[in-house]
C-alpha cells in the first residue's frame, strides 16, 4: 500500500527552477499494476525516484505499508529499500565484474544472508527466469533480454512488496521487451505491486491502470 500526499519536488537548473513534481497525490493498493506514462521531462522518473526513496520530496507525505518514509533516517530508508523495494533499470545496472549468479546474489550478500541459503535462492531464481545455463556468464556475455532478466532476478531476490521499473523494455528489441514484460506481469500476479515507467503506449496498455503525467502533474 502506497500513499503519496501533495508531493512537491523542485530542482535548480542554472538559475531556473524546474518544478519536477507539483502537488502529486497517489494511492496504490498492494498487488496493483500501474504504468506511469507521459512525455520526457514530465516528472515520471522523479516520481519513481521518490517512490524508491532514492530522492526526497521537498514537501508532502509518503507512506509505504503504513510507514511514514519521509521522516526516517538514512539507515532506515536504506533498510526499506533493501527489503521492500526492487529496482529494474533501463540500462540494467549489472556489475560488469560479477557473473550473473553473483549479480543476483548481491542483495542477499549485502543483507548478510548465509551462503547455503544464498545458493538455494539464487539457484531457484536462475531456474525461474530461464537463466540456469547462464549462471557463470558475465553481463557482457549475455544478450540484452538475458541481462534484464538477471536484473529482474536481482530486484526480486529479496521478495520485495514493490517493483519499480524505469523503462525496463526501453533498451530491448520488441521480442525481448515482451518477454521481460511477461516476466514482470507474472511477478505481479504473484502479489508484488508493479509500477512501471514507460513511454511506449503498447507497454502502457498492458497495465491495469495508467497514469499520465504532464509538467509534473498527474492528469
Amino acid at each position: 500500500m502506497i500513499v503519496l500526499q501533495h508531493i512537491e519536488r523542485r530542482f535548480q537548473v542554472g538559475d531556473e527552477e524546474v518544478h519536477a513534481l507539483s502537488d502529486v497525490s497517489l494511492t496504490v493498493t498492494s498487488g496493483e499494476y500501474i504504468a506511469i506514462m507521459g512525455p520526457s521531462g514530465s516528472g515520471k522518473s522523479s516520481l519513481l525516484n521518490i517512490l524508491g526513496i532514492l530522492d526526497q520530496p521537498d514537501s508532502g507525505v509518503y507512506e509505504l505499508d503504513g510507514i511514514k518514509v519521509s521522516g526516517l533516517g538514512e539507515k532506515q530508508q536504506a533498510a526499506i529499500r533493501r527489503h521492500k523495494i526492487g529496482f529494474v533499470f533501463q540500462f540494467f545496472h549489472l556489475v560488469p565484474r560479477l557473473t550473473a549468479f553473483d549479480n543476483i546474489a548481491l542483495p542477499l550478500m549485502l543483507s548478510g544472508v548465509a551462503r547455503a541459503e544464498r545458493l538455494e535462492r539464487v539457484g531457484a531464481a536462475l531456474t525461474a527466469f530461464g537463466l540456469s545455463n547462464r549462471a557463470q556468464h558475465r553481463p557482457d556475455q549475455l544478450s540484452g533480454g538475458q541481462r534484464q532478466r538477471v536484473a529482474i532476478a536481482r530486484a526480486t531476490i529479496m521478495r520485495p512488496s514493490v517493483i519499480l521499473a524505469d523503462e525496463p523494455t526501453g533498451n530491448l528489441d520488441r521480442h525481448s521487451g515482451i518477454e521481460v514484460a511477461e516476466i514482470l506481469e507474472e511477478l505481479n500476479r504473484q502479489g508484488m505491486t508493479l509500477i512501471m515507467v514507460t513511454h511506449d503506449p503498447d507497454m502502457g496498455r498492458r497495465a491495469r491502470r495508467q497514469i499520465l503525467m504532464v509538467d509534473g502533474e498527474i492528469r
Binding site: 525516484n49 524508491g52 532514492l54 530522492d55 538514512e74 539507515k75 536504506a78 533498510a79 526499506i80 529499500r81 533493501r82 527489503h83 523495494i85 529496482f87 533499470f89 540500462f91 545496472h93 556489475v95 548481491l106 542483495p107 549485502l110 543483507s111 536481482r154
Partner: protein, 364 residues
C-alpha cells in the same frame, strides 16, 4: 623502512666501534679549539705536548695509563716485501688503553720513553702482507731508515669508519718522533679508572697541563663528550632519514588518494546501484575506506618485505655494517602505512558516500 633499519644499524655500529677502545678515555690534543673555530695551533707560540707532559699526567690520581701518540705513514720493508702503512708511535700502555689484543708475541715493552729499544708490533694485515704464513717474531723490518725487531703481532681489529686498523704497525713514541722528525706529540690518550668521574679527571688534567704550559694551549676531550657529539650527529642523521621516509609517505598517500578518486569516479554507477539495493551511506564510506586501507597495508607490506630483504642483502654484502632491524619499527611502519591509507581514503570515500543516488545511477 630500509632507511630506518640502516640508520639504527649505523647508530649501534658506530657506538660499538667507538667504545671498543674502552669508555674511560680522555684525549688531549695540542692547540685550543674555541667555539669560534680558530685553532690555537694557528698561532705559532703554542707549546707542543711532549713526552714529559705524558709522564707527568700519569701521576694524577685516577689516571691509570697514558699513551703518547704520533701517527704517520712510512714504508715498511722486510726481505723483498714492502708496504706503506700507518705507523703509530705509542707507549707500552697503548694495548691496554685501546683494548688491543696481541695475537702472538707481546706488545711494546715499558722502556724509558726517551731511550726505547727498536721494537715493532705489527698489525695483522701488515704481518700477513710481509710474512705470509711464515714466522714473523724475531724478524727484522726496516721502517724508514731504521731497523726494528718484530716482537709481536696484533689480532685483527677490522676497520673503523674506513681506517684499516690492521694495516698499521706500532713502534715506541720516541722512535716515531725521530722517524717523522717531530719534536712534539700529536695526541695524549689517558685511561682513567672506571669509578672516577671523567669531568673531574679532565679538570685535573687541564690544571696540571696549564701549570706546565702557562696557559691553556691544548684541548681535552673526554670520551663521553665524543659520544655525545656523535650521538647528536647520528640523531640528526636519523631525523634526516625520517624526513625522507616522511616525504615518501606523503607521496604514497597522494598516490592512494588519486587511485581511490579514480575508483570512485569509475564506479559511480555501481555506487548508485548499491544505494538502490539498500546500502546505507555509512556502509559505502566503510567500503571505500576499507579499500584504501587495504591498498596501503599491502603497499606497506611490500615495502617491509623489500626493506627487510634490503637490509638482509646489506648485511650479507657488508657484514661489517650490520643493518639493525627493530621490530617495533617494523610494526609501527605498517601501522603508519595503514594510517596514511585511512587519511588518504577519507576524501574519496566521503565523496562516494555523499553522492546522490539518482545522479550516481544516471552516470552510467
Amino acid at each position: 623502512m630500509l632507511l630506518t633499519s640502516l640508520g639504527e644499524g649505523l647508530h649501534h655500529f658506530v657506538l660499538s666501534e667507538f667504545t671498543q677502545f674502552g669508555t674511560n678515555l680522555i684525549i688531549i690534543n695540542p692547540g685550543k679549539v674555541t667555539t669560534h673555530g680558530v685553532s690555537g695551533a694557528l698561532i705559532s707560540n703554542v707549546r707542543p705536548l711532549t713526552l714529559e707532559d705524558s709522564q707527568r699526567l700519569k701521576q694524577i690520581p685516577h689516571i691509570i695509563e697514558t699513551v703518547a701518540v704520533i701517527q704517520g705513514n712510512a714504508a715498511i720493508e722486510s726481505g723483498g716485501h714492502q708496504r706503506r702503512s700507518t705507523v703509530y708511535g705509542v707507549s707500552a700502555s697503548a694495548a691496554q688503553v685501546w683494548n688491543f689484543a696481541v695475537a702472538t708475541g707481546r706488545f711494546l715493552p715499558d722502556d724509558p720513553p726517551r731511550s726505547a729499544r727498536s721494537f715493532v708490533v705489527l698489525g695483522s694485515k701488515v704481518r700477513q702482507e710481509l710474512f705470509g704464513n711464515s714466522q714473523a717474531l724475531g724478524m727484522r723490518v726496516r721502517i724508514g731508515s731504521e731497523l726494528f725487531r718484530v716482537i709481536g703481532s696484533m689480532e685483527s681489529k677490522g676497520q673503523l669508519l674506513g681506517f684499516d686498523l690492521d694495516d698499521a704497525v706500532y713502534i715506541p713514541t720516541s722512535k716515531a718522533m725521530a722517524l717523522f722528525n717531530r719534536e712534539s706529540l700529536m695526541e695524549i690518550d689517558l685511561l682513567h679508572t672506571a669509578s672516577s668521574n671523567s669531568t673531574i679527571v679532565a679538570e685535573q688534567v687541564k690544571k696540571v697541563l696549564q701549570e706546565r704550559h702557562g696557559k691553556e694551549d691544548f684541548s681535552v676531550t673526554t670520551q663521553e663528550k665524543m659520544l655525545e657529539v656523535l650521538g647528536d650527529i647520528l640523531g640528526t642523521l636519523t631525523i634526516a632519514v625520517g624526513a625522507l621516509g616522511g616525504i615518501s609517505l606523503v607521496v604514497g598517500g597522494v598516490g592512494i588518494l588519486t587511485i581511490m578518486s579514480i575508483a570512485v569516479n569509475e564506479r559511480t554507477g555501481e555506487i548508485g546501484l548499491l544505494r538502490a539495493l539498500g546500502v546505507a551511506k555509512g556502509q559505502i564510506l566503510t567500503l571505500f575506506l576499507g579499500e584504501a586501507v587495504m591498498l596501503a597495508a599491502i603497499g606497506g607490506l611490500i615495502g617491509l618485505v623489500v626493506g627487510l630483504g634490503g637490509s638482509w642483502l646489506f648485511s650479507v654484502l657488508v657484514p661489517a655494517l650490520p643493518a639493525h632491524t627493530t621490530w617495533a619499527y617494523v610494526a609501527s611502519a605498517e601501522l603508519l602505512a595503514v594510517c596514511v591509507g585511512l587519511l588518504a581514503g577519507v576524501l574519496p570515500a566521503r565523496r562516494a558516500a555523499t553522492m546522490h543516488p539518482v545522479e550516481a545511477l544516471r552516470a552510467e
